[in-house]
C-alpha cells in the first residue's frame, strides 16, 4: 500500500517535470531520471515498515506552508466618480471615500521607522559629500555626540547598539569634511545627533572690577573655601578681620596665602580682604592662594602664564578619601591572621 503511494507520487513528479515547458534544455532531462533511479531501487529492495512510511510520506509531500494564491485583478474598480460639488453632506461623504490610512514613514515595517529614516538620510548625505577633502580625526571639531540611551529616548524606539554605532560612524565621517567646505545643511543635519550642550558652550561670564575698584575671586582647597576682594593699594591684608600674622601661626601659611601676589611682585600694589571658612589652616591658606590669584587675574589678565607657572591657577582636586567598610582606613586592610 505504502509502496504504491510513494511510487505514484514519484511518477507524478516525473510527469510534471516532463510536461514542464523546456524547449532548449536537453541536458537536464537526464537529471531527474538519474535522481529517480536510486529511489526506485531503494523502494524495491528495502523491507517496508508501513507505519513509518505512511507517517513519513505525507510529511515529505506537504509544504511547510502554502503561499497566498495569485491576485485576480477585477476588471471594474472600487472607485467612484466625482460628480462635482453638489451639497455639503455629499462632499463630506466623498471626502471620506477618498481617504485611506497609510504608514507615515517608508520604514514602517522595520518597527524602527525614525531610526531607519535617519540612517538612510545620513548615508545619502555622506554620498553627497564623499568626494570633499577631509581633515584628520585629531583635527576635527570636538563634538559631544548623543549616547545610544539619549538617542533611544529621543526616538522612543528599541534601537540596536550595533546599528546605532554603524549610523554614528557615518555621522562622524560627515564631521571630518573640511570645515571651509562643509555645506550648511550637513551642519544642521548633524545637530540632531549632538548632545544639547557641547564642550565649548559653557564659558564662564567674565569677572569685572566693580565701581569701588574691587575684584572678587573665589578659591577652594580640601574642605576650605575662600572669597577675596582685591583693591589697588599699599599691600594691606586682612583675613576674616585679622592680619595675616594674627590669622596664620605658621610662616609658610602666611606666605602661601599671598603667594600669587608675591610671585608676581604685586605684594605692595594691592590691598586684600579675604573671608575664609572650613577646613584647617593649610587648606584655608591654599584656598586663599587660588582666590587671590583669580582676583588678580581680573585686574591683570596678562599675568595668567606667570601665575600658572607659580602654580596658583589650578584648583587642587585632592580630598580626603573616605573610609570603606572592611578597611581600617580608606585603603588599609586589617592584618591578616592565618586561622
Amino acid at each position: 500500500m505504502a509502496r504504491g503511494e510513494l511510487s505514484r507520487t514519484l511518477w507524478s513528479a516525473a510527469e510534471g517535470l516532463r510536461s514542464a515547458p523546456r524547449s532548449q534544455c536537453t541536458r537536464t532531462m537526464r537529471l531527474p531520471y538519474r535522481s529517480l533511479q536510486p529511489a526506485a531501487r531503494f523502494i524495491s529492495t528495502t523491507p517496508s515498515r508501513s507505519a513509518e512510511l505512511t507517517s513519513e510520506t505525507p510529511e515529505a509531500q506537504l509544504e511547510p506552508f502554502t503561499a497566498a494564491p495569485e491576485i485576480e485583478f477585477e476588471a471594474d474598480e472600487g472607485g467612484d466618480k466625482d460628480s462635482g460639488g453638489g451639497n455639503n453632506q455629499k462632499s463630506n461623504n466623498q471626502l471620506l471615500r477618498t481617504l485611506r490610512v497609510v504608514p507615515a514613514s517608508r520604514s514602517y515595517f522595520s518597527a524602527k521607522p525614525t531610526f531607519t529614516d535617519d540612517y538612510l538620510h545620513v548615508s545619502a548625505l555622506l554620498r553627497s559629500v564623499a568626494t570633499l577633502p577631509t581633515i584628520l580625526t585629531t583635527e576635527a571639531p570636538r563634538v559631544a555626540w548623543k549616547t545610544i540611551d539619549q538617542y533611544r529616548i529621543m526616538t522612543n524606539e528599541p534601537v540596536k547598539t550595533q546599528r546605532f554605532h554603524r549610523m554614528m560612524h557615518i555621522v562622524k565621517r560627515l564631521n571630518l569634511v573640511h570645515p571651509s567646505l562643509m555645506p550648511e545643511h550637513i551642519k544642521t543635519a548633524m545637530r540632531r545627533f549632538m548632545k544639547d550642550s557641547q564642550p565649548g558652550d559653557l564659558v564662564p561670564a567674565p569677572q569685572l572690577v566693580d565701581d569701588w575698584g574691587r575684584a572678587r575671586g573665589v578659591g577652594r582647597r580640601k574642605t576650605s573655601s575662600a572669597v577675596v576682594w582685591l583693591v589697588e593699594g599699599e599691600g594691606e591684608a586682612l583675613v576674616n578681620g585679622k592680619s595675616l600674622s594674627q590669622f596664620f601661626g605658621r610662616l609658610h601659611h602666611r606666605e602661601s596665602a599671598v603667594w600669587a601676589l608675591k610671585a608676581t611682585h604685586r605684594l605692595d600694589k594691592y590691598n586684600m580682604f579675604g573671608l575664609v571658612q572650613g577646613g584647617g589652616s593649610t587648606g584655608q591658606a591654599e584656598a586663599l592662594t587660588l582666590a587671590v590669584a583669580k582676583a588678580l587675574l581680573v585686574h591683570e589678565p596678562a599675568l595668567k602664564p606667570a601665575l600658572r607657572r607659580a602654580g596658583c591657577v589650578t584648583r587642587d582636586p585632592r580630598k580626603v578619601e573616605r573610609k570603606k567598610t572592611g578597611h581600617v582606613k580608606a585603603r588599609k586592610m586589617p592584618t591578616w591572621v592565618k586561622r
Binding site: L17, A68, E72, F73, K90, R97, V101, A104
Partner: protein, 398 residues
C-alpha cells in the same frame, strides 16, 4: 647715455635685441630710441591685457566662504584647501571630458540612480547582471527544474527566458497593486541589498525593510508596530490632519504585497504572509523553494547586481502604477477601497456643514447605499474562492 647702456649690457644686449631698432637708429635721428622703448612698452601692456583676457578669471574663485576668510587663526591654510578644491573642480569641468572616447561600459551606480524599467528587461541585461548563475547541482531544489536551462561546470544555469517572463509578470503585479493603492513592501535583508531596496521603495512609493524582519510583525502586529505612526491621506496622497485619535484605535497596517529579494533567509516573513493571505514575489535561486512565494522570479539572488536590476524593474513598475493612480485621482476617481469606519473630525466637518442646503438627506441616503453596495462587492471579490483564480490570473497577466 645710450652708448653707456649698450656698453653696460655688453655683447649679450647686442645679440638679443632685434636688429630693427638699431638699423633705424643708425639711419635716422637719435631720439627714435625713445619711441621704440615706448612702443615696446605699449606692446608689453597689450600682451599683458591679452594674457589677462585669456587666463581663467581667478578673482571670481576665492570668495566662497567669507566666514572662513575672516577667521584670523589658521585662515590661511583653510583658504588654500578650499581654493585648491574649487580650482580642481573647475579644471575638472573644463578638461574632464577631453581625451579618448570611452565605449559604453558598466557603471555600477547607474542601476541605482537610473534603474531599468520593465520595458528595458532584455536577456542581455539579465545575462550581464549574472541572473543566470544558480547553485551547485547538489544543492538544487527539484521544484526549480522547469526554470533551469542546463548545467555548466557543476552549476545549474537558470533559463533567462523564464527569468525575463517571470520578472515582467511580477512587474505587472507590482504595477497593478500600486495602481490600486496597495502597500508594497520591498524586503532585502542581505548585506548590500539595502540601497537597492530603499531605492525601489522610493520609486514605487512603497515600503522597505533591509534589516531583520521582526517575527510577528504581521501575525502579532499590534504588539510590534503599534508605536509606528500612520496617517490619513486623500486620493492625491496629501495628508489630512485631525484623525490622530481615530488612528490610535485602529489596527496596525499590513502590506498588500511583499517583494522578497532573499526568500531563503526570510522564511518567517513568507510564512506570515501565507498565513494572512498576502501575496508575495520572491527571487528564487536554484536552491530555494518556489512554493514559498506566490510569484517566483527565478534568478540569482547572490548577485547584488542582479538584485539591483530586479528591484529597479519592480520599483519602476510601482512608479508607473502610482503615476496612473495619481492621474486618475486628478480626475476625481479613486482606485482603492477607502478606509472603513473613519469619521470626519469636527474641524473638517464644520467647514462644509455651515453652508448646508435642503434636500441633503436624500442624496446622503443614496450615497450611503452606494457605499454599502460598493463595500459588499469588494468583500465578495476579496473573499471569493481561489480555486479557479490561479489559472485565469496567469492568462490575464501574461
Amino acid at each position: 647715455m645710450i652708448i653707456r647702456s649698450v656698453a653696460r649690457a655688453g655683447r649679450r644686449a647686442l645679440v638679443q635685441t632685434s636688429s630693427q631698432p638699431w638699423r633705424r637708429f643708425l639711419a635716422t635721428q637719435t631720439d627714435t630710441i625713445e619711441t621704440t622703448a615706448e612702443n615696446s612698452f605699449k606692446q608689453f601692456h597689450s600682451l599683458e591685457a591679452q594674457f589677462n583676457a585669456t587666463a581663467p578669471p581667478q578673482e571670481a574663485v576665492p570668495s566662497f566662504d567669507p566666514a572662513a576668510a575672516s577667521a584670523p587663526a589658521s585662515a590661511h591654510v583653510t583658504d588654500s584647501v578650499a581654493e585648491q578644491y574649487h580650482r580642481f573642480k573647475q579644471s575638472q569641468a573644463l578638461i574632464g571630458k577631453l581625451g579618448s572616447y570611452i565605449t559604453p561600459h558598466y557603471q555600477p551606480h547607474t542601476l541605482l540612480s537610473n534603474p531599468p524599467s520593465p520595458a528595458d528587461v532584455t536577456l542581455e541585461l539579465l545575462l550581464a547582471s549574472e541572473a543566470h548563475q544558480g547553485h551547485a547541482t547538489s544543492l538544487w531544489n527539484p521544484a526549480n527544474a522547469r526554470y533551469i536551462h542546463g548545467i555548466r561546470q557543476g552549476v545549474h544555469i537558470i533559463s533567462l527566458e523564464a527569468t525575463a517572463a517571470h520578472l515582467r509578470r511580477a512587474a505587472k503585479v507590482v504595477q497593478e497593486v500600486s495602481r490600486r493603492g496597495g502597500l508594497v513592501l520591498f524586503v532585502g535583508t542581505r548585506d548590500g541589498q539595502d540601497r537597492a531596496v530603499a531605492r525601489a521603495s522610493e520609486l514605487a512609493k512603497g515600503y522597505h525593510l533591509f534589516e531583520r524582519w521582526i517575527p510577528g510583525s504581521i501575525t502579532n502586529g499590534q504588539q510590534i508596530l503599534s508605536k509606528c505612526r500612520t496617517k490619513v491621506v486623500n486620493g492625491k496622497d496629501e495628508e489630512i490632519p485631525g484623525f490622530e485619535e481615530q488612528l490610535m484605535e485602529r489596527p496596525v497596517l499590513r502590506p498588500d504585497l511583499v517583494v522578497c529579494m532573499n526568500p531563503l533567509e526570510n522564511y518567517v516573513l513568507l510564512h506570515e504572509c501565507a498565513l494572512n493571505n498576502i501575496p508575495t514575489i520572491g527571487v528564487i535561486d536554484t536552491n530555494a523553494d518556489p512554493t514559498w512565494v506566490t510569484y517566483p522570479i527565478p534568478a540569482n539572488d547572490d548577485s547584488l547586481r542582479c538584485i539591483q536590476v530586479i528591484a529597479g524593474v519592480l520599483g519602476r513598475a510601482g512608479e508607473a502604477g502610482q503615476k496612473q493612480r495619481l492621474e486618475l485621482a486628478e480626475t476625481g476617481r479613486v482606485t482603492y477601497r477607502p478606509a472603513d469606519n473613519l469619521v470626519l473630525p469636527e474641524a473638517l466637518q464644520e467647514k462644509t456643514v455651515a453652508a448646508a442646503e435642503p434636500g441633503a438627506e436624500m442624496d446622503l441616503d443614496e450615497s450611503l447605499e452606494d457605499a454599502d453596495e460598493l463595500a459588499d462587492k469588494l468583500d465578495m471579490a476579496n473573499n471569493r474562492e481561489m480555486s479557479n483564480h490561479a489559472a485565469r490570473a496567469i492568462k490575464k497577466i501574461d
